[in-house]
Symmetry: C2
Subunit: 85 residues, 2 copies
């Protein structure tokens, strides 16, 4: 989990595209209402992945984009964004 000088760290955020139903978010929003928190009017859920990649790797940006499209996100219903840290 510790980032050494020899790795680069990126965070990939994956969220459902606008318009795609989010049953988990809807369920949480309803649960909040029942728990006494009616002021939460909308909940959307998403996931993220903290990746550490060897700093000596070639074409890091391309690799990250491929990995997102192929494994981390489903491009049909999800979109992803990448944050380098």
């Amino acid at each position: 989990m510790t980032t050494t000088a020899k790795t680069k760290k990126v965070i990939v955020y994956v969220r459902l595209k606008d318009g795609v139903l989010d049953p988990q978010g809807v369920t949480i929003q309803k649960a909040l209402g029942q728990m006494g928190y009616p002021d939460f009017v909308s909940v959307r859920s998403g996931k993220f992945f903290e990746l550490e990649i060897d700093a000596g790797a070639s074409d890091i940006d391309r690799q990250i984009n491929e990995v997102c499209s192929k494994l981390l996100a489903n491009p049909v219903i999800e979109r992803f964004s990448v944050e380098k840290i």
Copy 2:
């Protein structure tokens, strides 16, 4: 999903505490290796929630913290952070 002037939007990030095993992350990291991406040396997974809360609600910060502890995160194994946007 659209934020109107009458709601505030916050994002709650939930991740496993350091030292807690992340089977999903481990599985993804292994899969990446098998798919031809051996440079990804570590993967940790997490989730986030985009909340919209009525701007007129009282004690918004307290409500958000309560909601995180009670429903969105499991304080035994997870920690959360809140980003206001």
